[in-house]
Amino acid sequence: MFLHNREELQALRQKAEAELHRQKIRVLICAGTGCIASGSKEIYEKMHNLAEINENVSVEFEGEVPHPEIKKSGCHGFCEMGPLMRIEPLGILYIKVKPEDCEEIYEKTVCQGQPIERLLYHKDGQIYQSEESIPFYAGQMRLVLKNCGHIDAENIEEYIAVGGYAGLEKVLFEMTKEEGLDMIEEANLRGRGGGGFPAGKKWKQVARQKETDRYVVCNGDEGDPGAFMDRSIMEGDPHKMLEGMLIASYLTGAQNAYIYVRAEYPLAVERLRIAIAQAEELGLIGDNVLGTDFCIHFHINRGAGAFVCGEGSALTASIEGNRGMPRVKPPRTVEHGLFNKPTVLNNVETYANVPMIVTNGAEWYKSIGTPGSPGTKAFALTGNVNNTGLIEVPMGTTLRTIIYDIGGGLKGDAGFKGVQIGGPSGGCLVEKHLDIPLDFDSVKKYDAIIGSGGLVVMDENTCMVEVARFFMSFTQRESCGKCVPCREGTKRMLEILEKIVAGKGEESDLAELSELAEMVRAMALCGLGKSAPLPVISTLKTFHEEYEEHIRDKKCRAKVCSALRKFIINPEFCIGCGKCARNCPAGAITGVKKQPHTINNDLCIKCGACKDNCSFDAIYIEA
């Protein structure tokens, strides 16, 4: 089918809507990366076999391509509880489903409409039957992620049925380009990739350029470890992002759009390819979209494993076929971007916000979130928290709400220590920051950034010096090497941090570390280099004591830094079997047979072989 004009799009929408609402019992099995890994494929096959004889039941595997008629949608975000199964229209959500549960589910729930209690989500004695009532979802506001897990990501008609491409329709037929640009600026949509630069302002700058050969680029190089919001959007609702890019292209007069996706996301690339092909077939991408003079062509580029390509000028260099190295700015991307032409560069989540702003208006958008940062933000909630997964909340939500209400609190017994926000370019927030509203501006005051939205929760068993070393080793490895402050500065900082965790730290190290950090922050060429020292700066400030303990007392309170651990045999539990002594590579353990043994800590190399081999849990680590 090819849509020649607006009326044909509207007719298609009506038809698709009717199709979508033709209800029968649908069993939806999540096939996001997480649930597939937890074994959802097998469950799908089993349910499919059970339902094969019954025409009234459709079993849908949401993600893979096992059967041409089967629908595929994306991740629900509640990865920790996978594999997930939703049964519509009953609205029942089953968690941690096992293949052996399938027959019971089919008999009781599918055939008789009865829920099976043991498969529902339980918390504190309460049972939650529907997805919406579970605290993990109830505390969220899913706007950008609304369709993820609810529509077929490989079917453009379902997207159109739920109001998709209505935003594009509106800008094409109901407003001038100026009005469209004003609306995005008025809504104060800020870039979700990290910096928070107002998208409307950026678009207007591109629209103003004299050069008429212009580009729109989507940054899907979600390189921050611990972040997967963009992956979920690209996999679960690719058309929403394409629509945002189409609107950006039309308003700024671009003729070509590029999507740069990380190499680690093969499923996202496949979904985008399918989505683009479908939009081209309908004539929503291509020449003379819906009979207007708007012409646009889409291209996909895959990343090749360089974190620095998440930086704008490095990303465009990579699309051009060069080494992905940032360049000095100005001139800015809006003037000299891809192929040296004016370029709009935003990330996946930013574009995915655009259609709903256009459809519902700037005032509606500004009613959500905070005055300075309107809208919602998707976060990847991970680490030592009970409900890990993908969440979306209004800007200005506090960490306390996110961690304790949505995240269900910390995993295990260890207390809360901190949250790493914004990945390797971000900082650490602690107990006293739990009640600050999370938005672009307030977080900056505490030497952290919202960044792309990774939230890694850490408990008392996490060593902050080690965490700083971990991030520094990441940024050091990923430094492109073009500018000296980043190339050499991160290397020297890493050396100092390695020295400290190895128990060889000196008093002067902290001052030097701090000086280097400030130097890199001030002098590095690109945004990634400038933010590379942030984890060090923020942990130095908040966890200064821990650094001092490592250096002065040679002590790691979290018992993480292996060189600072002290192994001790508890004489009450030791039966003198001698297994530890036989396994000790340093010959540091001595003792008489059937008598408690002892470890000579001068000889001990802290390898932990004794503890691993003890059958009586008699060896413990003293911090």
Binding site: T33, G34, G226, A380, T382
Partner: protein, 160 residues
């Protein structure tokens, strides 16, 4: 010397993306996907075909972590050491695998060309940390013992 089929395949790939400088990265990606590494001869060949210097092609290939001039094993195991996996103890998983396969920081592939171990910074499956992938199949919630079990199953499967 590579046999002629390599060059025929490479010609097909170049044809697909068009012989222009901006196609360099996608062409190299497809060659690597085909042969599990990037043969140096082919890189030289591609450079001459698309009109970039050999030096430029090498500078790009060596910049990106995904390109490898060394042949990789039949099973490429990527152990995630992203933040979420790191705080949920991914390092012991990797160490256990290396020990099991007799690999070290310099040697990533077993002599029988069965296994290659790599560390990646984030696979985007943080909800199931720590994770590893075997040829892009995700294995969630790994422990050192579970990881070794995966290897042993692969070995058994390969012997059959």
């Amino acid at each position: 010397m590579l046999d002629q089929s390599y060059y025929t395949k490479t010609d097909e790939i170049i044809e697909h993306y068009g012989p222009k400088a901006a196609s360099l990265i996608p062409i190299m990606q497809d060659i690597q996907a085909e042969y599990r590494y990037l043969p140096g001869e082919l890189l030289t060949y591609v450079a001459s075909k698309i009109g970039v210097t050999e030096a430029k092609a090498y500078s790009v290939a060596t910049f990106y972590e995904n390109f490898s001039f060394e042949p990789k094993g039949k099973y490429v195991i990527k152990v995630c050491d992203g933040t979420a996996c790191h705080v949920r103890k991914s390092v012991p998983v990797k160490e256990a695998l290396m020990k099991e396969l007799g690999l070290n920081a310099k040697k990533h592939t077993t002599d029988d060309m069965m296994f290659t171990i790599e560390t990646v910074s984030c696979l985007g499956a943080c909800g199931l940390a720590p994770v590893m992938t075997v040829n892009d199949e995700v294995h969630p919630k790994m422990t050192p013992d579970l990881a070794i079990e995966v290897i042993q199953n692969l070995k058994k499967g390969g012997a059959e």
